[in-house]
Amino acid sequence: MISEANNRKRNYNLKPADFNTKKRPTWCVGCGNYGIWNSIKKAFVELKLSPHEILIVFGIGCSGNGNNFIKTYAYHALHGMALPVATGAHLANHLLKVIAMTGDGDGVGIGGNHFIHTCRRNLDITHIMHDNRIYGLTTGQTSPTSNTKFKTKSTPFGVMEQPINPVALALICGATFVARGYSGEPEHLKNIFIKALAHKGFSFIDVLQPCVTFNKIDTYDYYKKLIYKLEDSSEYNSGDFSKALQKSQEMERIPLGIFYQIKKRTYHDGLEQIKDKPLVYQDLSSINIESLMKSFY
């Protein structure tokens, strides 16, 4: 169990490869998912986390296939349902480090409602969204983050709608840690992951992830030209909500880094009933409904 005794048993000399399963990734050669995969494993190592202390809830998609390639507790959820599953698991065992790993379709397409409501709860969960601006696993349809006019199998005449801006959406809905990473900058990404995992409360990272097979617009070349890092400007202060909101609207170039981070009571801190121990460790044999039954007399 993730108890104190257990912490002592911790293996502090884990290497990234210790988070590999016996399955090798099956993503396309050059896929941005590799970068995310590498960065998250490194973040675990630097945070001295062991596989059994982590639960990753995956969505369905190319990104979701990652459930076979990372060794931690994992739940490969239904399409769009990673956040609710993560929520339930976290509330049942808040000593786990719970991460939701979804695609963009999964995260803000079919799962959009869970996204906005999870943000406002400030649960102590990290949501990493593999944002390739396309539906990869279903072979190339538009995603909610696809840019207007993008031609895909489901939009051969071009996407008609304005894309969802995941960073802005997370901010407006109350996420207390909001960042954008890029799988082509794995070191930078790893550092964001480390901070997100250390953050108490809901952290969201929109990870730009080139899909080399189906998205010929949002490519490595494309991003290379546009990205820059927020922390390169000494002025940027991630504690300022309106600034963060404003920054999230920037379109000409693409800022990476932590847009916003604030300390706020987490959801589970408000639950007195799990102050002592997580639900999962509570003793069922001591339940006594006698007095409650009396109220039905």
Binding site: Y75, M81, A89
Partner: protein
């Protein structure tokens, strides 16, 4: 008037007049004295206005259901008189507010009952209490008409308003007293009802939803998620209120889709978790049901039916979702579907549901309906220790996992059940996968693996089948007509049976509490002795008949069906069976 063993009482008026709490107080003053009590609530899907009715039947003997006729009708508006007058027995009472119907005389409408004008407002005014306590006058009047003890009423009112302070209590009590005194003084002449004294111990007054709530608590349910939906919402309210006292997390989530997935997540992490909803919400949960099945995550789903399809009649009753629950969601997987017949069965069966869900790592669906979910029935007591918690092959400690072997979450075993590690164990790391998977949990698409895993999941049925309790048989073993029914229809049927068995005909009754797996053998055995049979249920297409056919090939030719959003009355059953 001679002492009677049983009577029926009804109050009707517009929504928003507190009729529901008035009725409950009335029911409680009798259950507290050990009487047998059943009640029934009718209200539209509106917050104010519309017609609300609360009916209570009280008896010194075991009763199962209301009857069609009433002894006392409290009419808070004219509609109540018009709609329910004819239900009042000869020499019964219709109490109305003479302050509303000034100068009206209703006696001509139905000369064989006593219309009692009571000046509610004037009586209240005298006590100095505010008008909103008006319904208490009706309670006082009723108690007086029954020659019942005013102190009992006072006690229940006091209990009921104890969180609101002494002043509120006093207002309510004095209003009740005013009504009581008014009858005692003004209507000395009329023959009152003498309800027989009752000497048994006080009884619990429970709805089916209360049974579910208490049972789930007792079973160690730690996580409850829901999205409000009539008639399941009271379970949410109960869980929410109890969460701190019983160390539970209750979550009113953003939708039923979130609900089921949260509950599955909590169960995966290692706690007992439950959800409740009605048909529309269950529809939204279907995908999650299949998700739980594929990952073999235990889950208990309470399905409180109401008339459908779609929004339907939100506040009325029907048994229209049975075959849906039986076949719900894509693909094939083992499940249990059960349907308690009363609040007591709800209490015990939901505990069995948790045990089955965890022992077999499957979804279990418990079906109620508005009638059972929201109406109260007395019961003598609930035993906390009857159903022992059995969490099956759940692993809590690292020591319980063999360290020399890889931990296989989906290990293929003889009984199909694989040891399931809770989260956080060093050697219990695994994937629960909605993709088809191998023994580790890795996604695996081969033909061989698919077959193996389907067989693994289905072989559990061997053991599950043995757990399924055969239908209950009520009445004599041999009868000339066998009634077959399920779920909440049990109650009006049992009441009807009191009157059905005559010199000419003998009835018995097979009640299904378990629908899936269908108790094929037990039912076939029963049917060997059956000469004539009829299915009674609260839907249009006789889903139980279809379920019986699907599982046994036995065609029941006679059906007594009701699908107007209302539960059967015993009288209807008696009449319906006459023709069969």
């Amino acid at each position: 008037m001679a002492e009677i063993k049983a009577f029926s009482w009804k109050v009707g008026g517009p929504a928003g007049f507190g009729i529901m709490s008035t009725g409950l107080i009335f029911a409680r003053i009798f259950s507290r004295k050990g009487y047998n009590v059943v009640d029934d609530k009718e209200y539209p899907s509106l917050i104010q206005g519309g017609h609300n009715v609360y009916s209570v039947r009280v008896s010194t003997e075991k009763i199962f259901s209301l009857l069609a006729s009433v002894n006392i009708l409290i009419a808070l508006d004219e509609m109540t008189i018009d709609l329910h007058m004819n239900e009042v027995k000869k020499n019964g009472f219709i109490v109305y507010d003479s302050g509303i119907f000034i100068g009206r005389d209703f006696n001509y409408k139905k000369p064989d009952v006593n219309f009692l004008p009571v000046p509610f407002d004037r009586l209240i005014e005298k006590t100095g209490a505010p008008k909103i306590v008006k319904n208490n006058v009706a309670l006082g009047v009723s108690v007086a008409l029954l020659n019942y003890d005013f102190n009992m009423l006072k006690e229940v009112i006091t209990e009921n308003f104890k969180d609101k302070g002494q002043k509120i209590i006093d207002f309510n009590v004095s209003a009740a007293k005013a009504g009581f005194d008014f009858i005692m003084k003004e209507f000395t002449g009329i023959p009152k009802i003498h309800i027989k004294k009752n000497y048994s111990k006080k009884k619990l007054l429970l709805t089916g939803n209360d049974g579910i709530f208490l049972g789930a608590l007792n079973a160690g349910c730690k996580f409850y998620a829901a999205y409000p939906m009539t008639p399941s919402s009271s379970i949410l309210h109960s869980f929410a209120a109890a969460e701190r006292d019983f160390n539970i997390v209750t979550k009113h989530a953003e939708s039923e889709i979130a609900v089921i997935n949260m509950a599955v997540g909590a169960s995966f992490a290692g706690v007992r978790s439950m959800v409740a909803t009605s048909g529309g919400g269950f529809a939204l949960m279907n995908e999650g049901l299949a998700g739980a099945a594929m990952t073999e995550t235990p889950i208990v789903i309470i399905l409180c039916q109401r008339p459908a399809p779609a929004t339907g009649l939100p506040t009325w009753t029907e048994q229209g979702d049975m075959l849906y629950a039986v076949h719900a969601s894509h693909g094939e997987f083992p499940r249990v579907v059960m349907a308690p017949g009363d609040p007591e069965e709800s209490f015990y069966m939901v505990q069995i549901a948790f045990n089955l869900a965890e022992k077999y790592q499957i979804p279990v669906i418990v079906m109620l309906d508005k009638f059972l979910s929201e109406n109260n029935f007395t019961c003598t007591g609930l035993t906390r220790y009857k159903i022992k918690i059995n969490r099956g092959k759940l692993i809590f400690a690292e020591e319980d996992i063999d360290n020399n072997e890889d931990y296989l979450r989906y290990k293929i075993t003889d009984d199909g059940i694989s040891p399931r590690a809770i989260t956080g164990l060093r050697n219990g790391v695994h994937i629960a996968n909605t993709d088809e998977h191998d023994e580790y949990g890795f996604s695996e698409e081969s033909a061989e693996n698919r077959k193996k895993m389907m067989d693994k999941r289905f072989i559990k049925l061997n053991a599950i089948n043995k757990e399924i309790i055969s239908p209950d048989l009520y009445g004599p073993k041999n009868a000339d007509t066998t009634i077959i029914s399920w779920g909440s229809c049990k109650m009006p049927i049992l009441e009807a049976m009191k009157y059905l068995n005559t010199d000419k005909r003998i009835f018995n009754f097979i009640h299904f509490k378990y629908l899936v797996p269908f108790p094929v053998k037990a039912f076939k055995k029963f049917m060997k002795n059956v000469t004539r049979s009829a299915v009674i249920e609260n839907n249009k297409t006789s889903q139980l008949s279809r379920l019986i056919m699907e599982n046994t090939g036995i065609k029941i030719n006679k059906q007594l069906l009701k699908y107007n959003g209302r539960q059967f009355l015993p009288e209807e059953i008696i009449k319906g069976l006459e023709k069969i």
